[in-house]
Symmetry: C2
Subunit: 363 residues, 2 copies
Amino acid sequence: MKKIEIELREKTYPIFIGAGILRNFDKIIDASFKNERIAVAADKRVVKLHRQKLLPLINMKKRKAEVFLFDASEKNKNLAGISKIYSFLQERNYGRDSLIVSAGGGITGDTAAFAASTYMRGIKYVNIPTTLLSAVDSSIGGKTGVNFNGIKNFIGTFYHPEFVIIDTEFFATLPADEIICGLGELVKTAFLAGGKFYNSLYNSIEEIAGGNFKGIENIIYDAVSFKAGVVASDEKEKGLRKILNLGHTFSHAVEKESGFAVKHGQAVIFGIVAALSLSKNMALVTARDYASKLEFIGKIKKKIKVPLISPEILYDAMLSDKKNRSGRIKFVLPGMPGNAVIDAEADKKQVLKAIVTAYNYFK
Amino acid sequence: MKKIEIELREKTYPIFIGAGILRNFDKIIDASFKNERIAVAADKRVVKLHRQKLLPLINMKKRKAEVFLFDASEKNKNLAGISKIYSFLQERNYGRDSLIVSAGGGITGDTAAFAASTYMRGIKYVNIPTTLLSAVDSSIGGKTGVNFNGIKNFIGTFYHPEFVIIDTEFFATLPADEIICGLGELVKTAFLAGGKFYNSLYNSIEEIAGGNFKGIENIIYDAVSFKAGVVASDEKEKGLRKILNLGHTFSHAVEKESGFAVKHGQAVIFGIVAALSLSKNMALVTARDYASKLEFIGKIKKKIKVPLISPEILYDAMLSDKKNRSGRIKFVLPGMPGNAVIDAEADKKQVLKAIVTAYNYFK
């Protein structure tokens, strides 16, 4: 088992990473919580696939948790979905000394964490991400959120868990396109972090994409450490943390305009290619760097499927993104190796061209 | 104009108190905010009564604010009410660099502050309380919240404004029972703070109840200073801050079971009398102290109207209060002068008796 401490101004908390570590849940919980009543908010698909693995959460020696089954989907990630969690807790008289444990992917985690942050002005929260994507991305950094009027994560809070447990055994049942989603954020991290992590992901990306998780513990450890460092420097995303949105301006538009048929991590890879193209045209990356990054993504490009959407429509969607409310679209673009340019602006023509380039790349 | 700084770990912000100080809103805003787009969430009754006073908020020299008219009532203080604010902002493309200014009583402030704390994970917020009650109570301390399934302030956050502007000119149009509401929290503060403030409120309470606000600036200054000190010591209400709930276990039950026909401050005074009675029976206050506090409240007791509700029903409502989810009712009770006992428990019989005593007192 590996452990990373997230050090924030207000709070420090650990992230545990390992295969099968959930079997020790009882011990971890008892070491941290004496009297808290526990509610588990679990994605119902995860419960179906991993009933045995989840038993340590529910049948603890000293107390029993009650389970809220969440039908995790973007269309339930909203205030109505949150209200169901509130009602579940309220009807069962959960008080301020309560703890919500979420078990599921990013949708489950973001929703449960938002509920935890607002139920009686905040109760304790533990996150058990069960997908590669949520393990390396949404479970780290304290962003909670739900969709509002079709705009993703429009309503939310900054709220940190007591700890995060990444048990890599969950990944065994991930469908191929979910693994690609996780790789989307990992590729992004590799482009941002550069150096050693760039090389180790480059060397293992095909194996991971094929469902071989032998070296995944180290990959996750490095990716989480990188994100933890960024978040610790700029928790509220006033500056540096924006780099984590590399390619995301494009990807949010693709997700939205596909009616969320394209999953987040897949859209991120598409978005990174579009951002790379924009970077090249704005002379922010060298031709050689551009080519080597495209070659990196090339290792999984066949697994990316983004339906053709008019670039004009994607452009308009970017304008209505929550980060671009002032009428100008801000991009995070790849820069020189291990660097990114934040708050970049670009001509509409160049943006449309970058989208076309990305479509051609994945054709 | 008086000024108090609230000093918290994360943030320090000022509270301005004075008659007519809203006329300088333009200057105050321009000194603090350069680029923020401003939305004013105003109680529609306040807009009707004080259109002239609110003009400086809307027609600023450098920018115009848009006004969201809020129909402030307990039945709109919920997720549906919050959603209307979200939609108002979203449709007008308010971005992260936005500021919500609320103008109204506690319902308007609590609701607008919750919206500000969750819109795009938090935008800036300024509170202009227009009632005596909200000026001395809800506008100080960073508690935001809305009702959920009929339970008051069940959903919320801790979130602080950039500043609070208490312009006492608003009080001129307060109906008599609203003034009593403010006095309810002021009496509570006097019982907690003791000393000089106890005496000055004792000497001026009848004048204030009659609508004479000549000395109100000093009264508010002292009450806000007291609450600010408590909040600074224990922002998240883990210990000391609980004293501010003196009498509130009773008052929340009265409000709920009257269908919110009894207003908060009125219910607080009723609750303080019940708590006093419980304290006396548990030997937490002397007979002399008990008598002198009842005499204090006696100055306004004729203005308190609480319909008769079965003590048993009130007891059950207390059990379902959000602070008592563990099955035991926790009271904050008056102790020796300038003191209070927190997390007190009592026999059901004693609690019922205290409620009957309070009803007899106000008969």
